[in-house]
Each structure stands twice: as structure tokens, then as C-alpha cells.
Symmetry: C2
Subunit: 347 residues, 2 copies
């Protein structure tokens, strides 16, 4: 075929892919909208959700994909394998689906220890079992030494959307409360601590976990949920900005309500990082009707992955997509979308 | 978690991943059975098909994944993007399914030209349109320069299995004929020619193509098909060996019947390669009842991707999985599974 269409990102702006194009911030957003959506765009993809939702013969399915390139491959609290299984499960969960089946695509660098591959496979199996999903198909490629970095894993997943549940940013209403299930920034800081060789009194561990069990409990008491989102790459700030922007609403969060450990706070200060922008891998934001908040919080706090669940903010107005935060000292600051690359290869 | 299980591939045998572990031959097979199947094994994965087939609320689905790491990214007759779209479509087709939805996971090396990404995306869109599938969800990761190789693409796909069709190696019967839709080894030789800088009078082009249209025509005239397989990595020989081994049958093929161009034959001689082991990306092997062979061949030959369709062999007996070939000079040779790594990163 002839390529007659000129590239929508002009060379004068960016001619090469930067790390920030994979950072989950504004450059990622530009790449997705100007290159991928421009060509691939369709009713499913355009939702820009954590996955696609479609109906076949009366059943609503969710379908999602994620590639994992985290470095290091083994880190405090997990490894790339369980991260890949849990991450795709959580994307299906955020589509309002019960995860059923997962695929795995391995790209392995020549020379990678088979023993390490085995450890990764064991933990993937363990993660899949815990979440009650099956790994049903896969693929393995090997690239020459120096042409990859140990191991990259793609997981794609299929789930069935819960009946009566309609998850979409466009359902977000003024008055919705925003519930978070626990402490933020742990995954990202665990990875950064490994890389920087930081030592803390208590070892900071990744929060990687599959959230389908927690969400199943929530759905038993309420289906008045507008949207759910796992604040991974780009952290809480990016997830909230994405929702505010697609839902065209103003969101306010309260700094004093955001759970964070002293160790993570300390590490963020040492590393010069803002915890609002740090990746989580076992957290979920739930936008729900205020009248159901109490019962949702109650079941969440009874679940091992939701003990510290709390309302961290509210949808306060319609508008052009804005996130603000009432700080500890009483001022209000704008919480922007991340622009550069804060933490490459965090997931 | 504690890793108490010891690795099923002992260090004394292989301690590190070799290129051959990704070559589609015996080492790939060992890795899949001893590591992946050992842990992930379940009724779907154990079929070791091109994808998983499962039933949900009365509808039978196929689900498949493949990562593409082909080098070079652009080659005569195609590029990594259309290869990734066509390849996953063909895997669904070989599960007996009509492909519907595709996901794309990009792993891009820092510094990759955005213009090249754009060309890849355009050709993916074109391939998806031609095959009437939608790209519905995606993911983009960027790795540091030197930690990847330009671009790797994972595509996963979902399709609906045609009613009345039951594709499985275990359905293969003695007497089944084996139909191939055209010339072999073109994709692999196109790639190798690029790498080696070989020039031929007629440029050898990859045969990358989506085969769902061709198979749809076949299914209009016959559903007496035991198994279908696209002979990609490892070529015709590996695909036939895999089927012979899972179906526990003996297969005989006839060298004089196997379509191959003079240019490809010549290139194979120069490069010291056996065309039976070279990857195809637009070919399909169809195991069908002999009584339906004539009408299947007839519709195939009327399709642009099947003009040179022919019966290349037959299932001659039950047994422990053996492929033999009647050669041009009248002798019979065993066609083994590939053992080492013939062509790394061919797809």
C-alpha cells in the first residue's frame, strides 16, 4: 500500500519516541489520540477505557491488553509475572467485568535464566489461582541478547460484564463520591527503592493484587457505581484527570484523606517525587452515588484488600475536566496530568 | 510466596534461554510443556491449539495471542504491523473462528521514529479493514534505548467459532487429505533476503495475508474439516509434525506437489535452508475428508489467496506421530521437527 497520509505528529514537534511517550501522561495521551485513535478509532476503542466492552449474542464482554516491561523483574512484594496477571485482571474489573480468561505473551532476552522464568511462571499460576482465572493461551518469543531486557510479558484478558452494571466516565454525576481502597504509591516506590538501593526500616512492598474479589463484594451491596479505575502508571493524579476529562466534571480531593504510609512519604521526599503521580497496582478508585457510600465502604473495609478504604474526594461540578486538592494547610491546588516522564518502566 | 517447586528443566540441561527456545522447534516445545503447561495447564491450554476455544452462554469463542518481534520491522511485502494483525486473525481462523476483535500492545524502543510508527499503524488499520476486524483496545510501553529493538507488537484476538465446525487434531482421521493454499517459504525467505542483502531478479515478497476470507468460502461448501493450521514459525514441517504428534497419526507428503517458486528455491540453496522449515504468513494447511476435497479445492482456487491450492499429502495411518515425504527422486525421507534455531525473529 501507499502511505499518502502524513503523520499527525509533525517532525518539528516530535520526531522520535521518548520515554515520556510511555509514561501515561500528556505525551502518551497525544500518541494515543493523534496516532492510534486517528486510525483505529471505533465505537469500542473511542471509550478509552481500561478495555473494550461489547455485546455478543446477548452477553456483554470486556477485553483488555497490557504489556509489562517493569524493571527490575523481581522486586519487593512481587515480580513481573504476578504484576501482569493482576494488572489485566484489574483492567477487566474496571470495565465492570468478572475476569475469566487470560493470555500470556512472553518476549524473553537470550541468556535469561530458566530458573527465573520458572519463578515467574509459578507466581503467575499462583496469582491466577487466587483470582480464579485461567491462563488459556500463550506465545513465546526470544530476542538476541541486547535486543530486549530480560523479559517482557503481555497479558490480555476476557471477562463478562456484571448484569445491571454500566461503567463509563459519562455516567459520572455531580455529587458522586470517590472511594479509594488503601494506601497509595506503594508499587512505584517499591520499584524505585530497588533501583536506587534505598533502605527503610520497614521494607516498602509493591501493593500488586487482583481486585476482582473486592469488587465482587461491593457489587453485592450496590450497583450505583459510575466508574472504576485502577490508578496505575501516572498514579492517582493521572487517573482522576482522565476521568475528569472524559466525564467533563470538576473533581475535588482532600489531602488529609489520602492514605499513605510514613515510609512511602519519606521515600518520596528523598526521591523528589509526588506520591499522587506514583503507580499503584492494587488500588481502585470507585465513583459511586453518595447515598450508597456507607454500605460500599462497610463491605470494602471488611475485605483484606480494602481495610483502609475511605472517601478521598467528590465530583463537585460540571466543567472542562479539572482536579483540585484541598491541602493539609487549607489551600487549594490544581492537580495536573503528568507531563514528562516521572518513572519509566514502572509496570 | 515461597518457591518450593524445583525447575522442571534442570540446570545441567539448560540454564539459560537460547534463541532456539523461541524457534518453534523441539526446544520451544520443551519450554512450553515442561514450564508453561506444567503450571498453567487446563482443559483449554492443554489443547495446544493456535488459540483457546471455550463456550460462554451457548456461544463458542476462540481467543489467541501472539507477540511479533520480526527483524527488520519493514520488509519486502509488509511490515511488523500488518504481520501482527494478519497473524492473529489467522490463528483465530485455525481455531475455526470468524475473527471479530483485536487488541494491540506496543513495546517501543526509545528513539524509534514516530514517522515509522505512523506507517506501521496505517498498515495495521488497512489489514484490519481488509479482514473486517476491529482493533478495540491497546497499550503502549516505551523502553530505554538499547533495552528493546525498535518495536515489538503483541496482538490478541477474539472470534466466534462457526457453528457445526469442530476443529481439533484429535478429529484427524486416516484418509484425510492435506490441502495447502499456495507457495511455501516466501515470508521467511523475504526476511532472510533483507537481512543478508540478497538480490533476485524478482523480489521475493512476504506472503503475509489474512486468511479468514478464504476459509469463509471453504466453509460454505464443506464443514468436514478435521484441523486447520497456519505453518508459520518452523514452517510446513513443524506444523505437520505438531499435528501428527497430537493426532497420533502418520502423515505422508509428496515433494512434487509442494508449491514453491524458483526464486525461493534458489535463495534456499544459497542460504543453505530447507524450505519445509521456513515460515509462511499467508498459508494454511487444511485436513479434510477426501470426499469433500474436490469442492474445497474448487472454491479455494477461485479465491485470490488460494489460486495454487493443491493436495500436498495424506494421513496414511495411525501411529506415534510421523511425517514422511516422497521425494522427487522417489525415495522416502522422514521430515523431523526442527531442533535448533534456524531463523530467529522471523515473526
Amino acid at each position: 500500500m501507499e502511505f499518502q497520509l502524513s503523520c499527525p505528529i509533525p517532525k518539528s514537534e516530535y520526531d522520535k519516541i521518548l520515554l515520556a511517550h510511555g509514561g501515561g501522561g500528556t505525551l502518551t495521551h497525544q500518541l494515543i489520540t493523534k496516532i492510534f485513535l486517528d486510525q483505529f478509532g471505533n465505537e469500542y476503542l473511542n471509550q478509552l477505557h481500561d478495555g473494550a466492552v461489547f455485546e455478543i449474542n446477548g452477553t456483554k464482554f470486556a477485553f483488555t491488553t497490557d504489556s509489562y516491561v517493569v524493571n527490575p523483574v523481581f522486586f519487593s512484594g512481587g515480580n513481573i509475572g504476578e504484576l501482569a496477571v493482576n494488572g489485566t485482571i484489574n483492567d477487566l474489573v474496571c470495565c465492570g467485568a468478572k475476569p475469566l480468561f487470560i493470555s500470556t505473551g512472553f518476549i524473553i532476552e537470550e541468556g535469561f535464566e530458566i530458573e527465573d522464568l520458572w519463578k515467574i511462571v509459578l507466581s503467575m499460576k499462583d496469582a491466577a489461582d487466587k483470582a480464579n482465572v485461567l491462563i488459556v493461551t500463550g506465545d513465546t518469543k526470544v530476542v538476541e541478547k541486547g535486543k530486549g531486557d530480560k523479559i517482557f510479558i503481555n497479558t490480555s484478558g476476557i471477562g463478562i460484564v456484571y448484569e445491571g452494571l454500566n461503567i463509563s466516565p459519562k455516567n459520572v454525576k455531580v455529587g458522586d463520591v470517590i472511594i479509594l481502597n488503601g494506601k497509595i504509591a506503594e508499587h512505584g516506590i517499591a520499584i524505585m527503592s530497588e533501583r536506587e538501593g534505598l533502605e527503610f526500616e520497614t521494607k516498602i512492598q509493591s501493593d500488586t493484587a487482583a481486585l476482582n474479589g473486592l469488587v465482587e463484594e461491593i457489587l453485592k451491596v450496590s450497583k450505583n457505581i459510575s466508574v472504576m479505575r485502577d490508578p496505575t502508571r501516572g498514579g492517582l493524579a493521572s487517573a482522576l484527570n482522565e476521568i475528569a476529562s472524559s466525564a467533563k466534571v470538576k473533581i475535588e480531593i482532600y489531602e488529609e484523606r489520602i492514605p499513605i504510609s510514613d515510609e512511602v512519604m519519606g521515600a518520596c521526599e528523598i526521591l523528589g517525587l509526588d506520591p499522587l503521580y506514583i503507580a499503584n497496582e492494587g488500588k481502585i478508585l470507585i465513583f459511586a452515588s453518595e447515598q450508597d457510600a456507607a454500605k460500599i465502604l462497610s463491605v470494602m473495609r471488611n475485605h483484606p484488600l480494602g481495610k483502609e478504604s475511605t472517601i478521598i474526594g467528590k465530583v463537585i461540578d460540571k466543567g472542562e475536566g479539572l482536579v483540585t486538592m484541598k491541602t493539609l494547610i487549607g489551600s487549594t491546588r490544581i492537580v495536573d496530568m503528568i507531563s514528562g516522564e516521572q518513572l519509566p518502566r514502572i509496570c
